[in-house]
């Protein structure tokens, strides 16, 4: 690892100040991606600002909506009993048990890995990302591969998921990394149906209009059968070319609906 300077502020304001003050400061949460990236010499932040001392951990619910603090770990979400089953299942399927004990929802969303699970949930549920500066709606939050609407000195505080009538997530695991080769989150909230796909898009997580239309008309796995999922704009790598990923989107969409 390259030398770095570690900070553990106790207030959001202090954390923001450290981010602004650092030459090339990075936010450290669970560290499951950042530290491994640093270990491989693929990142060299001058300063690490640990946000785990800011009191951003925990889950609250009100009127069917749930708010998950940014530094809540995947294991805590999975075992909380306070979030919709689809979210609980999603959290329980991230990484492995040890990674889930450290990795956080805020870290996952800030990193926005194109194969991460949480972005699918946030986008499909139409969740809101609360930050140190503002509230960002899901449709505005994701900008592309490892890119979000967050400014460099902006810290995720919490994520608010609205109540969902139905929600389901199905993931086909990458055989090596165990990230999503394709993951599809389907959600029916306040009358609108949203379908988000992770692991497949060349620009990261995306909504699928065809699937949304079909499921709006008929919330059933069968409704997905008639939909053509195009391979255009989908990633191709040794574990799945665009055509295969397109197939998986359809299959996972059906399974997500069935699980909802």
């Amino acid at each position: 690892m390259y030398p770095t300077k570690y900070h553990k502020p106790s207030s959001v304001a202090d954390a923001v100040a450290l981010l602004t003050g650092g030459e090339d400061a990075a936010i450290l949460a669970g560290g499951q991606t950042l530290l491994t990236t640093m270990k491989q010499h693929l990142a060299a932040p001058s300063d690490l600002v640990d946000v785990r001392g800011l009191g951003l951990r925990g889950i609250t619910s009100a009127g069917g909506a749930v708010t998950i603090g940014a530094t809540t770990t995947h294991a805590e979400v999975a075992a909380s009993g306070k979030v919709p089953a689809a979210l609980e299942g999603l959290a329980a399927g991230i990484g492995d048990p040890q990674v889930r004990n450290a990795g956080t929802i805020g870290g996952s969303l800030a990193n926005n890995d194109p194969a991460a699970d949480y972005p699918a949930a946030v986008l499909a549920m139409g969740a809101t990302v609360n930050t140190s500066k503002r509230e960002i709606g899901a449709d505005d939050y994701f900008r592309g591969l490892f890119d979000t609407a967050l400014d460099d000195d902006e810290i995720i505080i919490a994520v608010r998921f609205p109540a969902a009538e139905r929600a389901g997530y199905a993931k086909f695991r990458h055989p090596a990394s165990r990230f999503a080769l394709v993951g599809v989150f389907v959600a029916k909230t306040a009358g609108s149906v949203r379908v988000a796909v992770t692991g497949a898009g060349e620009s990261g997580v995306f909504r699928h209009a065809g699937l949304e239309a079909a499921l709006t008309a008929d919330w059933s796995a069968d409704a997905v059968d008639g939909i053509e999922v195009s391979a255009e704009g989908l990633m191709s790598d040794i574990h799945g070319d665009a055509e295969y990923r397109a197939n998986l989107i359809k299959v996972m969409a059906k399974r997500a609906v069935a699980a909802s």
Binding site: H41, A176, I238, Y244
Partner: protein, 780 residues
Amino acid sequence: MSTGIGARVKRKEDKRFITGRGKFTDDVRVDNQAYAAFVRSPHAHAKVKGIDKSAALAMDGVIDVLDGQQLGADGIGNLICGWAITSKNGSPMNMGAWSALATDKVRFVGNAVAVVIAETAAKARIAAEAVAVDYEELPAVARADKALAKGAPQIHDNAPGNLIFDWELGDKAATDAALKGAAHVTEISLTNNRLSPNAIEPRSAVAIYDQAEDHYTLYTTSQNPHVARLVLSAFYQVAPEHKLRVIAPDVGGGFGSKIYIYPEEIVCLWASMKTNRSVKWTAHRAESFITDSHGRDHITTARMGFDAKNRIVGFDVDTIANFGAYMSLFSSAVPTYLYATLLSGQYDIQNIHCNVRAVYTNTVPVDAYRGAGRPEACFLVERLMETAARELGVSPSELRRTNFIREFPHQTPVIMNYDVGDFEANLDQALKAADVAGFAARRKEAAARGKLRGLGFSSYIEACGIAPSAAVGSLGSGVGLWESAEVRVNPVGTIEILTGSHSHGQSHETTFAQIVAERFDLPIENVSIVHGDTDKVQFGMGTYGSRSGAVGMSAIVKAMDKVEAKVKKIAAHVLEASEDDIVIEGGQVKVAGTDKAMGWHEVGLAAYTAHNLPPDMEPGLKEGAFYDPANFTFPAGTYICEVEVDPETGEVEIVQFTASDDFGTLINPTVVEGQVQGGITQGIGQAILEQVVYDDAGQLITGSYMDYAMPRADDVPSYGVHHTSTVCPNNPLGMKGCGEAGAIGSPPAVINAITDAIGNNDLAMPATPQAVWKAIQAAQ
């Protein structure tokens, strides 16, 4: 509870590992410790125009930066391949020079160019990035067939067209004639996928130079420390043997990858002398992927002919073997004498011909990996048998049965002489254990759940107990492949066994002790095994090729014979009886049929006090032996794999895996089962998960566990592991070896099962979900 041969003794070596007290090479830290980091080529093929070390040398904590010019100037020799293969036109193999640090040219991504020695590992690594190497990029080639094509980049000047050798075995004319007259010919084209061994302990070296004594010590992750010392001394001229001690302490798995002596170990020793510091290097996993030798990587086409009664009449094979950028230590033996010699499988085939072209590419060097040549042979033969059965419309198990060799010894047309076996016994045991009779009903039930269920067979044979020295010498081996042992009975009667075999998971500290406890009827606690240190153990050839039992233990038996003879002489003398009447049992050395006896420990004491020994007998009780096997051993068996495929995703679930093996005598069935389970998992890994992938420019795509899919606990089921036994006549314990069978026998069983399930025989390894899904689509 018995602790002798056949007993399920719990491992003696476990305690230090389960309590975190094992001592692996990276756990070693000595005074004056410095750390090495290598400057490696980011290009698959390039000229090295210059190396600017100035920035690195100026960095904090950097002790020195060393390069290949300095290495050469100090007389350190090139890495070599120790097995000479002659092409069919009589010319020797074209071995290109491999300097531990490249001087003129780099030939694969990861090729070491220079080394930084610094005060900490982190500082060394950062400084290595500051060494500026001026490269002139050259076109590269990663695939063996493309490397043979006209106009392909020339990798070594002395290997025109990148061809290392063009070798054949068997009678081409007779095989062609047999195929011409065949009632049916089955053809197949397949690849055997390139694998990365991935012992979980990364390779590591700690080199300690003692200036006062001009002496070197090397702690390293080796399967064969004596061979390492021999090669480092005799070929690489690092230090003469008596000035070099090699210690392989606890080693975290090898699978072949820790047989070889790599550039890193050579450079650490040399750098230790240059800097007068102890130099330590431990690979990080990304480095393992680009430096540990890879395995397999064959492209093969083959034809197998059958007569009207479905008996095999001829078998012709054409293989291209990818050797990577340099010839690794045993690379040339793998696709030749460890591959073509096993192409008869378990079958009576009169005509076999095999042609092998060995090829340089811009990839990591390829060498033996668990099974080494035999998995490639088995995969080819057993895929062909299953394919032929489908074409001929006969049961795959019955086609095998029709062709089984039934009389032993059996001389194949490809060198090997099978000494003993009962292939039908394994097939029948496996058929029963796998409940093949009930498969149709299981398939139907699976179909009702929307799953495709398939069954696949593999009846493998391999050659282990490597190897008779004169035989391998005549075939080109540069070394003899015997093993040595010393049995040291201490004055108080406890026993130390010094063995040239090396345990890195094989359980020698337990199983070797078992044969001693049995022989002298002593508590197993009184026996300890010493290995892995050239200063302690006389000499040895190490552990690979499932040889530690059949060869290593046989050497111990020979040494025990000598100890027993001396013990009996001493006891006969002291007890005033005839040697012939002396028996060893229950911790005593007795005169049979009388109450005259000495304690075992009393004999030991008598030998060392030497107060009352027979005339002319030397004091002491310590005997050594070298054992050179008379033949290879031939473990064989039948594996049956049952899978369910999800037709929507192509995902394969191994729902049942049954093994029936014949390893001859089992010393410790629990240990044997563990070896088989591990081997099968590696074989399943090769079949459905693992593959080293390079892009066309020679960049490694699968450089971490994020892309290289390792088998995990939830990828595999528990297996049914069963045994039959025909005792090997060629070694004193009747053993055949069990370390590689699982990895050899399992891949074709898995692919045969998947292709059976999906109804498309055209499926390459690894059968990833995507590959299986595409094969399903293609069949529709």
